[in-house]
Structures are given as C-alpha cells and as structure tokens.
Symmetry: C2
Subunit: 200 residues, 2 copies
C-alpha cells in the first residue's frame, strides 16, 4: 500500500493560509488537518482541539521534553507545535495530512519527512497583505510586528517546492489540490509492487 | 516571463494515450499538441498535419540530416519524429506542449529538455491491453508484435516522473491535467523576478 503524503502550507500572516486549508479540507476527503498545539490565547470562536489544542506553557514544555512534537517553535512569543502521533497515524493509513506552519517549522518537518510537499502561498502584493492584517482584530500581536515577520518569511519562498499566489481564492485552492493530486502520482511515491498487476 | 512546460505521455500501444491527449487538449487552452512526423501509412480517417505529418522515407531521412527533429526513432519498422521548430515556438510563448511518444523518444527529448515532464500511462491490466489491441484494426502491425513491444515498455515506467493508471478515462485525464498545473507552479520554474512584486 502507498503511504500518504504530508503537504505543508506556509505563508506570511494574512496571506490567507487558514482559509485555503479550510477550503481544501472541505473539497478532499482524503485530506486531514494536522491540529497543532499552541500556548497563545484562543481568538473569539476558536475551540480547543479544532483550530488548535490550547495548552499552558507548562503543559507545552512537558510535551517538548517527552519528544511528542514533530516540530515546535516559538513565534510571536508563543509556542506552536505539531504533535507527532496524529500525523504518523494518518500517513500510515495511506491518507494525506495538511499543515499550516511557518517557515522554520516547515524546514524542521521536512528534515523528518523528506517526502513532504512544501507549498508557499504568496499574497498578490504587500499592500494586500497590509489590508488583511489591519482587518484582523488581534490585540496580542501588532500589525507592524506581523508585517516585519512577513517580509522575512517571503524571502524563504524560494526554498519551497511550489509557490501559489493567492490572488483568487478558489483558483489558489484548486492549484494546491492539483499539487496534492500530482504528488500522489509521483513514481517515487509508488510501491514498486504497484506496477506488477499490469505485467501479470 | 515564464517558459512553458513540455509534457510527454508514453504508454504501451492500446493503453489509451491518444484519447487521453485529445481530451486534455479539449480541456486546456494553454496546451498544444506536438504533431509528429511519420513514415507509416495513415489509418482510415487520419489526416495529414492533424494526427501526424505523413512523410515518405526519403523526406523523413532528409529532415534527419538537416537536424530538424527534436527526437526521431524507428518503431514497428517505421520512422517517427518530433519536429523541433513547433515545440520551441510554443514553449517560448509561455504555453505548454504535449507529446505522445514512446519510451526511447521520451528519453531523447528529456536529454534536450531536462525540465520536461514524463508521464507514463498504464493500462489497468495486460488483459485490458490485449482487448484494446484486438479491437483496433491495424493490418500492418500484428497484435502479437505490439503486445511484445508493450511488455518491454512497461518496464520503463519506473524512469518516468509520474505514473497514471488509465482505469477510468476522465479520472486519468483529470490527473494528468493536475500534473501539468502542479508543474507550472514549481518554484524551480518561476522566473526569480516573479517573487519581487510581493516584496515591493
């Protein structure tokens, strides 16, 4: 049986990666969202175990020590981490996992999963990015601070496998879905025995 | 501007590659068929310049000498070749070209276009392949001979970038269309200046 693929979406804050992931998950039954752990406070409407597992700093540090994260990092003064167990289970079943993580996290995961697919989502322009950040109400994190981080992240796009520009949301979602479909058809992902039925 | 991609479809005779190419071309305006030259006789309904440019052996040999082919080969005792000029023009315009050629031809083209995308189409089984070959009326080429060639070609699938099983035609066409979409989004295909507007 074929192992599932791990697709990682990174983008500057405000480029739309959360919406893209939600739309992809609605479209593809073979795709599952990797729920991350974080120590940041929930935004209005965010439920524990859905957008994130919300942990205290003490809980988070305990999991780090027990090596329960595939990757973890501190971003905007809060901890974020990907629980290893969840991803392992799905990939083993031959289904796919999507993660929305930052550049540093993406590079860490790739080291553990060299076959992971890295997609960088670009905003159509830096002006578009500013508008989206300003529209988002987030008292704990200033627009200026996120924007400064975003500039640094944009430079990392060249290290990703694919670059998708989120100018039209539906188009961007379709493009990432095509990337996932194509990657599952890669010869390098096929179990060699897959070719045998055709020769029998 | 981005250069177009060259997508190469190979398959054992009778696996359905001609139908797949026709459907892909109907679906995508950014895709053009690379019409090959051949010395084989036209089948009923095949028009010159549409399925192939039908040439005499003398005409074909003259073009070889003038280096007018991107690749050429003898298959089933007939010459087949891809005119270089046609492909160069389309790729330069930023659009994509599709070719349906055999394994030997595909490997030759890849040497000249390392960025070409190689897709191998598998029949769902060797039985399915036999039925399709038997259903095709082709007096100049026996089913047994084509079948023998097919077995050899199947072994080459592992050298291709992607493997698509033509069990359901529409699904196979959708998968190859996804491969083309994904490949055009590869970071390695982007002009580096493409990332600049986002940073401006």
């Amino acid at each position: 049986m074929r192992k599932g693929a791990l697709i990682i979406i990174s983008a500057p804050s405000g480029a739309g990666k959360t919406t893209i992931c939600r739309k992809l998950l609605a479209r593809r039954e073979d795709l599952h969202y990797s729920v991350s752990c974080t120590t940041r406070s929930p935004r209005p409407g965010e439920r524990n175990g859905k957008a994130y597992f919300f942990l205290t700093r003490e809980e988070f540090k305990r999991k780090i020590i027990r090596n329960e994260f595939l990757e973890w990092a501190m971003v905007h003064d809060e901890y974020y981490g990907t629980p290893r167990h969840f991803v392992d289970e799905i990939v083993k079943k031959g289904e796919n996992v999507i993660m929305a993580i930052d550049v540093q996290g993406a590079m860490s995961v790739r080291r553990k999963y060299p076959a992971s697919i890295l997609v960088f989502v670009l905003p159509p322009s830096l002006d578009a990015l500013k508008s989206r950040l300003a529209a988002r109400r987030d008292p704990q994190d200033s627009v200026a601070k996120r924007l400064a981080n975003s500039r640094g992240e944009l430079a990392a796009a060249k290290d990703y496998d694919y670059v998708v520009v989120n100018e039209d949301l539906e188009k961007a979602v379709g493009q990432i879905s095509s990337i996932l479909t194509a990657e599952t058809l890669r010869t390098s992902r096929l179990d060699p025995s897959y070719l045998l039925p055709a020769l029998a």
